[in-house]
């Protein structure tokens, strides 16, 4: 019983922690074959929104629709179509790269585990270090491994929280290329970042968040930095 969808609909979603509003009536739609950038300063609510979309956190009000189905209606099968690369990477340092991937592949019910894991290791460029403990990896290596881990089960929707942190230029470019490839495959990619340089030219649309509010959803092709600055400036007025 597989579940699939062709768009993500964030409908009037708010989330508060006590009296602090982390998200304030955010509405956004992302379609298949799209890379959407979620931009904003620290504390804007990007991570909170990603957590809600990935079903780890509940919204205080509003709904998330995957296609036309809520998370509750879709049940556990929904999570087979979601991939999350969080800030903390979610890797076990006491296991090797291969063991990490094998564990998650089995957990997520991937068929033909050895083949899937082998592919993932190659794409991460970790073939020589596959049987080394993750505790010895650099940040960049872990990031590449974590990205492949998030993609093991072929999710429709990929959520990335600050994926460019700690990546050198080459790795950053490689990530951009990988994301473009995913867009070709018709996936929905939602990237939260404040690294505007590396992300330049990557996003089909950008959504700018600030203090929990969605300031702007833009598709123009003007420079990313310009658009971002304009949005923040407009909000200040």
């Amino acid at each position: 019983m597989t579940f699939d969808f062709d768009r993500l609909v964030v409908d009037d979603v708010s989330r508060n922690f006590g009296r602090r509003r982390a998200l304030n009536r955010v509405t956004l739609t992302c379609r298949a074959g799209e890379i959407v950038g979620l931009l904003g300063p620290n504390g804007a609510g990007k991570s909170t929104l990603l957590a809600i979309v990935s079903t780890l956190l509940a919204a205080s009000s509003g709904e998330i629709l995957y296609g036309s189905v809520t998370a509750r209606a879709a049940g556990p099968a929904l999570r087979a179509r979601l991939g999350l690369l969080g800030h903390d990477l979610y890797l076990y340092p006491e296991l090797t790269a291969r063991e990490n991937l094998e564990f998650f592949a089995r957990l997520y019910g991937c068929p033909n585990v050895p083949a899937v894991v082998g592919d993932a290791i190659e794409r991460a460029g970790l073939s020589e270090r596959a049987d080394d403990l993750v505790s010895g990896f650099s940040r960049g290596m872990r990031q590449r491994l974590a990205l492949e881990r998030a993609l093991l089960h072929g999710p429709r929707l990929l959520l990335l929280d600050e994926p460019f942190t700690g990546l050198d230029d080459a790795s950053g470019q490689a990530l951009v290329a990988r994301l473009r490839g995913l867009r070709q495959e018709g996936r929905i990619v939602l990237v939260a970042t404040h690294d505007l340089d590396l992300a330049e030219g990557l996003f089909d649309r950008i959504a700018v968040l600030r203090d929990g509010r969605l300031l702007l959803v833009d598709e123009s092709s003007a420079s990313l930095r310009e658009r971002y600055r304009d949005a923040i400036a407009a909000a200040r007025r």
Binding site: N16, G18, R19, R21, N24, R25, G212
Partner: protein, 218 residues
Amino acid sequence: MARAYTPLVVLAMVLFAVAPVAVAFAPPEQVMGLIQRIFYYHVPSAMMLFLSAFVCGIASAVFLFKRSARADRIAVSAGELAIVFGLIVMVTGPLWGRKFWGVWWQWDAKLTSAFLLWMIFVAYLLVRRYGGPGAEKLGAAMALFGMANVPFVYVAANYWRTLHPTTNVVMTLAPGMRGPFWLCVAAFLLLYGLLLTLRKRLEDQRAAVEQLYLAMDE
């Protein structure tokens, strides 16, 4: 506040004014004499403790599964009242025990169970207070598990010394005692209801203030 509240408070005050008089006029018990009269307050307090434990447990379950904030407000009110009435039980029990058995604590089943239940609800408040954000859910789990634990605590406390339950002081209520006893129960029950309503109202006000803060942000 509901219109009925003030008259009910007056009624409660009247009941508590009448109760000691009724207790004084109740027939004396053969074995224990004067000290037995402490039961007229001890037992209803214990009943309120157990009632509170169940109210808190059920409200917590509703909060956990239905995410109802209102249920959580009832739960925290009941939790605090469990501690208050439990305290009365813990004070009156040993007072009686000292006079009757000569020792403050004798590990009898009922008092021990009450003590363990009381501890569970103290832990409930501790986790709500010190657990950081989202601690309401942690407390709810504690209250639910605590409520489920009541039969086990009772059996364990009852049988832990010998396989045969210790001869608890089972009071047979002589006819003359029933009147004052049930009067006291009614008084305590009314007091409990009033305190619960009042405490829940405080929580409701707090929630309303939070909503106002949130609305400011819109």
